[in-house]
Symmetry: D2
Subunit: 338 residues, 4 copies
């Protein structure tokens, strides 16, 4: 059996999440997310960020992105995102399937640039083209990098000045927060709506969607239901978020995984391995020789992100259940190939 650095969604759930579910195995609850656990989990989030938000739970990342974005768009409106965005590259055209064009803007280190957004706006001048309406970014990005608070604010300011909404795909939000000095409360003030990912941080499934209260945010449950994002047993997600939000479990899970990732990064740097970008979160993108990749593939599971001529960018992902000894072993095995 190979050891996996493949992703952060390869085990059922964090043991504490599972224990929490077990407590309620016989309890009867009403359906569709109107149960007490879901209400309580929402309250726990609002207690952290303040009252001016609506919170909804739904099943997964693609589903969340599609539902949230399409809820806020008129038929002719479009979304601006980096080329590397999950919504652009890895969701089988889910957003386009709701009728909306995606416009890609230049990015650096996987992060959208102000310059890039401005270029897209400058090109879209009349009704023969779609109307840009939302800027969508990921935090952390697909490359494990994280926007600083100032970068986020600059983007938000640019959006405000141009009648654009700002959305943050937070499938790995807490990994990013754990890697910076930014609190959830400070973060929440910046975008118009965002998600807090559960699936990639210890839950079986589930993402929280947080919407700043507004006229446009109303009736969100209609969008949820229409897109198949409303679970009959909604309390399944509510209970898990209760678990994740109790004693800061979610944050601890991400801090722990980040720490292991940074440990791995430092060890690889000692071997003079270079990285695509510098990341302090649980996604690391070292560049290895093809020979080394081939050898490591014998014993470990990981993605080859970008095959190149003589080497390859690989993606290594750590989680709460990554074994630090296996990191050492991985590094040791790599050393032999250098």
């Amino acid at each position: 059996m190979k050891y996996s650095f493949l992703n952060d969604y390869n085990t059922l759930a964090h043991p504490k999440v599972f224990e929490y579910l077990q407590k309620y195995i016989n309890e009867a609850n009403v359906g569709y997310g109107l149960d007490e656990h879901s209400k309580n989990a929402k309250k726990m989030i609002l207690d952290k960020i303040g009252k001016d938000y609506d919170v909804h739970f739904l099943v997964g990342g693609t589903s969340a992105n599609k539902i949230v974005l399409s809820h806020f768009l008129k038929p002719y409106e479009a979304v601006i995102c980096p080329e590397s965005a999950h919504i652009n590259r890895r969701e089988t055209g889910a957003l386009e399937a709701t009728g909306h064009k995606i416009l890609t803007a230049k990015s650096e280190d996987g992060k959208i640039t102000l310059e890039g957004i401005k270029e897209v706006l400058a090109e879209h001048t009349d009704e023969h083209m779609v109307l840009p309406r939302i800027v969508s970014i990921s935090y952390t990005t697909e490359y494990g990098t994280v926007y600083s608070k100032e970068e986020l604010k600059d983007i938000a300011d640019l959006c405000k000045a141009n009648n654009l909404l700002l959305y943050v795909d937070g499938a790995r939000l807490t990994y990013g927060l754990a890697a910076t000095a930014l609190s959830l409360k400070e973060f929440a003030k910046i975008p118009d709506f965002f998600t807090i990912g559960g699936t990639k941080a210890g839950a079986m499934l589930g993402e929280a969607v947080v919407l700043k209260k507004s006229k446009a945010a109303e009736n969100f449950r209609f969008s949820l239901k229409q897109n198949g994002g409303m679970l009959a047993k909604g309390f399944l997600i509510g209970i898990q978020f209760e678990a994740l939000l109790t004693d800061n479990l979610l944050l601890k899970i991400c801090e722990d995984a980040n720490k292991k990732a940074v440990y791995l990064k430092e060890k690889l740097k000692e071997l003079n391995i270079e990285f695509l970008f510098d990341s302090n979160t649980n996604l690391q993108f070292p560049i290895l020789s093809n020979k080394a990749v081939k050898a490591l593939k014998e014993k470990y599971l990981f993605s080859v992100w970008e095959p190149r001529k003589n080497d390859a960018v690989i993606r290594l992902v750590t989680t709460y259940d990554t074994d630090i000894k296996m990191i050492d072993q991985f590094v040791g095995d790599l050393r032999k190939e250098l």
Copy 2:
């Protein structure tokens, strides 16, 4: 705390399903339904019905209906179903959101009629109208009634003769099979595609989609992903279906719930209570006086299906964890109101 006859999805999961999940809490699996548990669960289904099918797992009923139906339709094609169909009445226009019109056909006892289908076909004669392409029925129906094998075959024959596909929404499929002499194997031969519901029969979440192999059925995983129906931790559903298919747990869960429902029906009949339709499955629709409804609402949770002048059709749902003593108590409380 009121006792619930509200629905069959009010507890997290059947204990055996939960136990089964617990066994794999630390096991690493690949994502997106390509894991060994999902493969095994599919095999267990194919072992029951034969090889000429593809099986996929997805998160919920609305999601399943929307994805399956839209996968098989060209933009101008439409679905025929009874007025009472879930896809028509209770899914917030999920199918229309994929661009397709729903055409309703006359039904009796909640079951579509051949006459009704023929009328719809007769009305749709040219390109100024949509082209009927799929007949969609529920088994069991929204009213707990069940098509006989002959009725199913007659519908399938009518479909074949008119270039229509037949789809069965099986959110409560096994309740229906348990209530009749029909095996899953015999059943599977009839429609072109159908679902086997897990959510309403003991799983936390999850529906199996079964497609007869065909050119049109190919690439279904693209539709799954595009519609947000592909879970990152797909093995969560695979494991649960393994549990449900082991030792016929799924069938036993449904048989048990049906038995309790029939017990309830008989007890109510002794009180000369009338029913909207005769049902032998876990959905019962007795007609009670408004006075009785009001009194029972004090102690029990249930839906008022159809408020009428002096009385009301209510819906009572039993499950594997319905307590037979509570049925007796419910009947006793009703007797006092008569």
Copy 3:
């Protein structure tokens, strides 16, 4: 060559419309409806109805209905209309193709009823169902009948009280206005948006869309373009509307056709022919014996609207170029069959 009572769009254009086009055959104009003719035609409409409206021109009825309705709807919102509505029965699911469900309400004489709208509203109570948002009616209706001013106002009031917008499909608007005491100005005050049909009243093609100014009406040209409703040579429609609005040509065309239709109706009544509904517009629905229908089909083109056991409802349509002698001849031929 059979004489045609088939429809009101069987000749290229009214001679005066054609003459008007001919005047501008060599004139260069800017594209996409931003030309001086289109601006002038809009001004001519605003001069009639007041300033608080936006006017756009587009190619045809199905196109107009689809674009206007979808422009105002959020993804989960629905349209209420009579079962007989063109958008429901004769547009190949064009509205559903934009993602929206159509809800049908009870009608009388082809006209939607207040009772019917209320029933639909009463049934749609939560997010498991679509949210009714627009009531769409035709004026004149598919059956040639016309809402009185009071009926229109009652519908508009009901809409206002229930957060519904009112749309009038005016493919034959001016026929209706010509048949009643209602002026375009009075009419325009009632709905939130409506069309003024050109195609069925003397133009080669072209419908004017009139929108009460509002936040929601903004950016309509994006919807026009996205749906293929914006003609490169937009001035083609602008010029025709200039023609139709000069010396009240549009109204005269419709008055003339209505007069002929009423003449036909009176003549048929003298033969004791019954009608499906009483109409004073250019659509007449007499009920003839199958024998008579068969005989008349030899010499005339017309639609059999509804075949019945021993007789049939047929549709006879008059236009500005219907020959009154041919009406006499038709009636004479019918008399022989009685």
Copy 4:
């Protein structure tokens, strides 16, 4: 009044097209494109290209592209085109509004490259991404350049080898054919479906859609109607195509415009003006100093295609009614600015 080099759709129609329409001003025809003129015009096209095609007429370019492409696509399938493609840049997301993603491939001289298509195919490997299904190119391109027969065949071969359909947006098809040795018959053999533009070559409006007969091409009239592309007075387009196809009028119109464009190109070259690309069709993209552009704007209408630092790419368009004297005058005025 400024003289216009703005586009090829700024006058109502070629005089011969108008005369042709005038002949039928009083003739009654059946609706929706089922008339004798439309049938005859289709026959005239088939007489040129052979029998194995279906021909349909519709209103405009955006409409045609949207309807044809969406007719052939399953929900998760995508279209590959150059970045500069009209469907990608100038149709307000019309194709995405039908649910489909557009993938852009590298181009040279406005023409898609084989290399570019292969790159897109290489990147799209599984169901987390859309499935490329159609390659869509313009002939002539947005830049007035034209694919050679060999280039077209190479693209078609690549498509065939990769289960891709080839579509040609022929809004200016005949300009391209007129500029090369390629006959319509030879051309028609190459793509799976294409359009023959009328609007930009002398018609008031109208595009012919030509589909190689196939299972997938069936039921196209449903797509036409659903998308608002079926004109009530379909004979309006049929008659115009009869005119355009009589005595090779369409070809002559394009030859004439091309000749004037080449004359203009030669004159500008004598002034050492450079061009973005070399074009022999009616679209020319010279690069002028900002000073020259400003001066010419005083007397002429034309588009500034791409503003740059010290100069600008402008677009000059000739048509059948471009006055050769005005070209001389334009060149003379430019000379003064050099």
